[in-house]
Symmetry: C2
Subunit: 330 residues, 2 copies
């Protein structure tokens, strides 16, 4: 019987589940809108139901366990979601153990940045490397770091909050409470703020036409830039510059062999890459400048593949997944 | 026969050597001015001579090898000093192998930040921890990181250049070629710049009197602050604020259980600590705020103890020191 794992990618907007093979292929997939406002009981019920539904599609496989990538901060050692800002009413929820009980399956929990980094390292652009940084640029900026062949976990598994390094001392406010964080300057949300400013400054632009009456988002900027809109191309160049500042920092701090960018904004990689690369060349010390920076190979599937990788190919620092029930089955 | 190692701390100003016991005690010590302008041959000869001189003081000990902490960038895997900015004419010098040949002893090379972190972890304020960051604040800012019980090394051993993260996008120029680096804002050198500005602004201050005709340095600021000089106390508070920004970043990036500050400026720890702690409380996410930040327990000896620790207690990621000559002796 072929072996596989269930990956659950818990986001504030979407909840995704997949059956993932031992070679990192998605064999079944399902997703629903996360009931983010309904509290932990409702969301945990959604997670269990979605896991059962993908499981039902592939009864032929032996399922080794369930991996969850969830928004931080969370304590991966104890399996507790501490206080995810995008999920209302969640405070110190023992997510790992509650789902293990609901499904009678071994469950592993890690933050979505670590899980995605693990997936990209085991099955994507980081395969075969000893030192590797994965950065997800979407609503926020998160990520995970592999150094010397192991995931960098730190106290309570809280290392790698790369979006929350100050890069502009007096910069804009961040969701974390600080200001001038990389996330506050270079996330998709931050690009959306810049887009709204650009639309207000020039309501005759192609960007303004695409946006119409909706609030401007990073998606509008990408679309308008692809049509040659000058203001949007300038916004993408500024986005690349801001990303480059943070990436130069990561090179100095972790010395990876490669940095991979995923998340929604990585679909615009070609648009911001020139400015990003110029900024890295200007800011990184010579020994770090040749390190490749590339878009994710796993794309939108990185979340579920990474979550499943927590079970299929955990990093050596964590050890193998232990079944929590003798008769594991769903 | 008791066992020990020789630690060599190669700085741009001073070269220090010590015999260090297996429990991290300095048993013999010597130092000379580094012939920093004379090129690698002269300095390597100094290093060999100083190692022999401390060895001669303790012929009763079995010497396991020689550890060198040297300024980066260097490649600790191959033992090559790439381009230390404080040593004239050094470019890709195979320092480890040249000293091993000169002394007929096994030699280990690492950058001074990693070596000091290892020393503080094995024998000082980091003892017993699994996650630990050491930061040296002196002429520049360097450091080393222990995560999950191992030194974070990265590609070519170049991880942990904590002084070269941008924290102020448009900040002052840094020795590394970038601008706005933590080092350019919060090192002893940076504090010296601020002191010269303060002296020019108010030549009647106690600081100005202490400085006299010499160029103002961090040391003057510390001395005047201890005498209650208002301008110097303000400079120390600003120094603490700048240190706090970088430390909050390190908490998010590495999630240590403790951060230890060493280097010359750590002797003024009590003067900058209140502002530093207030900044950390304002900028770090709640999960990170309770992490202790403390001055080094090893003080000025951290360099030689750390260098010796490369031999006595290497991190698990490197494996034991291998003798390079069958008849190791000096």
């Amino acid at each position: 019987m072929s072996r596989a794992a269930i990956g659950l990618d818990l986001g504030g907007t979407e909840l995704r589940a997949a059956i993932v093979s031992e070679s990192g292929r998605v064999l079944a997939h399902a997703q629903v809108k996360t009931e983010a406002a309904a509290g932990p009981d409702a969301v945990i019920a959604q997670m269990a139901a979605l896991a059962r539904s993908v499981r039902a599609e592939r009864p032929d496989l032996e399922i080794l366990g369930v991996g969850i990538g969830a928004p931080g901060p969370l304590d991966s050692d104890t399996g507790i979601a501490i206080a995810p800002p995008t999920l209302a009413g969640w405070r110190d929820v023992p997510l790992r153990d509650r789902l293990a009980e609901a499904l009678s399956m071994p469950v592993v929990l890690d933050n979505d940045g670590h899980a995605a980094a693990l997936g990209e390292w085991r099955f994507g652009s980081g395969a075969g490397l000893r030192h590797f940084v994965y950065v997800t640029v979407s609503t926020g900026i998160g990520g995970g770091v592999v150094c010397d062949g192991r995931l960098v976990r730190g106290r309570r598994g809280l290392a790698g909050h790369v979006g929350h390094m100050t890069i502009v001392e007096d910069g804009p406010a961040c969701a974390c409470g600080n200001h001038g964080c990389w996330e506050a300057l270079a996330s998709g949300t931050a690009l959306g703020h810049e887009a709204r400013r650009a639309v207000a400054a020039d309501p005759t632009s192609r960007l303004a036409a695409l946006v119409g009456d909706a609030p401007a988002t990073a998606r509008h900027v990408t679309a308008a830039a692809r049509e040659g809109d000058a203001a949007s191309l300038a916004l993408m160049a500024e986005e690349g510059r801001r990303l480059g500042i943070g990436i130069a920092n990561l090179l100095h701090l972790y010395s990876p062999e490669r940095i991979v960018l995923g998340g929604g904004l990585s679909s615009a990689f070609d648009l911001f890459a020139p400015a990003m690369r110029a900024t890295i060349a200007a800011r990184a010390m010579p020994e770090f400048r040749a390190v490749p920076v590339e878009p994710s190979a796993l794309g939108l599937e990185v979340g579920v593949i990474g979550a499943a990788a927590l079970v299929l190919a955990p990093d050596p620092g964590r050890g193998p997944v232990q079944p929590v029930f003798a008769s594991a089955s769903i």
